[in-house]
C-alpha cells in the first residue's frame, strides 16, 4: 500500500470523493466486491471499506466522511482516520473512487 506523506493528508480533507463508474458491485452482507469491467480486476472491500465507499457520494467531503465514521469510535479517532485515508487511497489507486 502506498504510504501517504504527512503533507498529503490534510490536503485531502476538503476534496469530495465519489464512486467511479465502470464497476459492477456484488454485495455480500456487509462486504462488497467491486469488479472493474474494463480491467478485469476485482477489489474486495471489508465491512469498513464498504461503508466508506458507500459514503463517497460526490457530495460529502473527506472531512465529513471522517466525522461520520469517527463518531462511532470516539476513543480511536486517530486510528480510524488513518484507516480511512488508507482505504480512500486504495480505492483511488484502483480507480473505484474519483475526487472532485
Amino acid at each position: 500500500m502506498t504510504k501517504q506523506t504527512e503533507h498529503e493528508i490534510p490536503l485531502m480533507n476538503d476534496r469530495v470523493p465519489r464512486c467511479a463508474e465502470g464497476f459492477t458491485l456484488e454485495q455480500f452482507d456487509h462486504e462488497i466486491l467491486l469488479f472493474n469491467v474494463a480491467k478485469d480486476e476485482t477489489l474486495y472491500l471489508n465491512a469498513t471499506a464498504a461503508m466508506i465507499w458507500g459514503l463517497c457520494d460526490g457530495e460529502r467531503t473527506v472531512r465529513q466522511i471522517i466525522e461520520l465514521i469517527t463518531a462511532g469510535y470516539p476513543d480511536s479517532v486517530a486510528d480510524v482516520e488513518h484507516d480511512l485515508y488508507d482505504t480512500l487511497q486504495t480505492l483511488s489507486r484502483h480507480g473505484a473512487i474519483e475526487f472532485s
Partner: protein, 290 residues
C-alpha cells in the same frame, strides 16, 4: 499413426501420434481415450519425429507448437496448449485454476495461482486415501457444483519435492524421475497419484469445501474460515473463462462462494495437517447445498 481423444470441459481434442513410443510419452502425462480423429477437427494435434534429426515435432492444426529434442518440453507444451484449447470455449460453468481431490464422495477444491501450494496439498490428500482429480484446472457446474478436473500427474516444484517424497516409499520415490520445466525454467517433477496411493476411477464429485492454500516456510500454521466475499475475490483471481461468462463470471462466482464454504490454509510442513482430514470430514458431513 495412432489416434487418441482428450476430453475436458465439454470439449475434445484429437491427437495423432506417430508411434507407440510417442504414445507412451503422451500417456505418461495426459489421460487419453481411444477414438477416431477427423483431421478437420478444430482441435487436432499431431506429434511425430522430425526426419533426420529425430526431434519431436508438435503441431496443432497447421501451427507449429514445438520442434526440438526435449521430451519434457514437448510434454509441457502439449499439456499447456491442450488445457487452453479445451477450456477457452467453455461457457457452461466456471473454469478455475485449482487442484481438486475427492474426499468421501465430495470434492475439495483448492484454488490458487501458481506456487500457492495446490499440488503439494493435493498430494497430501492423496496420501490420506483420497482421490486425485487434478492439480491444475477444474470446471464446476454452476447448478450442481459437480467438479471435473483436467487429469495430469501431480506437478511438484523443487521446494516441495522432499515433502511430497516423504509421503511415498523411498523405492517408489526414486522411480518418480520424470522431470519437466516451467516456462521460467524451474524444475518440476511429475508424480503419478497412484505412486502415492491407489486410485479408483470415479466421477460426479460435488464441490463441498474450498481450501485456499499458502505454503509458507516461515509462518505459523493457520486454518481460518473465509467470508463468501473473500472466497469470491480469490476465485475471481483464479477464474480462467471469465470472458465467456455473463458479467465476466462475477455472478456465478458469487453464487458458488455463497454456497460452498472456504478456508484459508497456511502450512509449513505436512505434520501440521494432521487434524485437517478429521476437521474436513466434520465439515463435509454438513450439506453445503440447500
Amino acid at each position: 499413426m495412432l489416434t487418441r481423444i482428450v476430453r475436458f470441459a465439454g470439449n475434445y481434442a484429437c491427437l495423432s501420434i506417430a508411434d507407440e513410443s510417442l504414445l507412451r510419452i503422451v500417456e505418461s502425462v495426459i489421460r487419453t481415450e481411444h477414438g477416431a480423429c477427423e483431421e478437420s477437427s478444430q482441435c487436432f494435434y499431431s506429434l511425430r519425429y522430425q526426419q533426420g534429426s529425430g526431434d519431436y515435432v508438435l503441431r496443432q492444426d497447421d501451427q507449429l507448437l514445438y520442434a526440438g529434442a526435449r521430451v519434457d518440453e514437448v510434454c509441457r507444451v502439449l499439456i499447456s496448449d491442450l488445457i487452453t484449447t479445451l477450456v477457452s470455449p467453455y461457457n457452461a460453468g466456471l473454469a478455475v485454476h485449482a487442484a481438486a481431490v475427492g474426499v468421501d464422495g465430495n470434492a475439495v477444491v483448492i484454488p490458487g495461482t501458481s506456487g500457492a501450494g495446490k499440488s503439494t496439498l493435493a498430494a497430501w490428500f492423496v496420501s490420506h486415501g483420497n482421490h486425485y482429480l487434478t492439480d491444475e484446472v477444474v470446471v464446476i457446474d454452476p447448478t450442481t457444483y459437480e467438479v471435473a478436473g483436467f487429469f495430469r500427474p501431480l506437478h511438484i516444484k523443487a521446494p516441495a519435492l522432499q515433502a511430497v517424497y516423504s509421503l511415498i516409499e523411498e523405492r517408489v520415490a526414486s522411480e518418480c524421475a520424470q522431470q519437466m520445466h516451467t516456462p521460467d525454467n524451474s524444475p518440476v517433477t511429475l508424480i503419478e497419484p497412484e505412486r502415492i496411493a491407489p486410485q479408483s476411477a470415479r466421477d460426479g464429485y460435488r464441490a463441498q469445501v474450498m481450501l485456499f492454500p499458502e505454503y509458507s516456510a516461515d509462518k505459523d500454521f493457520k486454518l481460518a474460515p473465509m467470508s463468501p466475499a473473500q472466497c469470491a475475490h480469490r476465485l475471481m483471481g483464479s477464474l480462467i473463462n471469465a470472458r465467456n461468462l455473463q458479467n465476466k463470471g462475477l455472478d456465478a462466482v458469487a453464487k458458488l462462494a455463497r454456497s460452498i464454504p472456504g478456508y484459508q490454509i497456511r502450512y509449513r510442513h505436512f505434520s501440521e495437517l494432521t487434524d485437517l482430514h478429521t476437521l474436513l470430514k466434520e465439515y463435509l458431513e454438513i450439506p453445503a447445498h440447500p
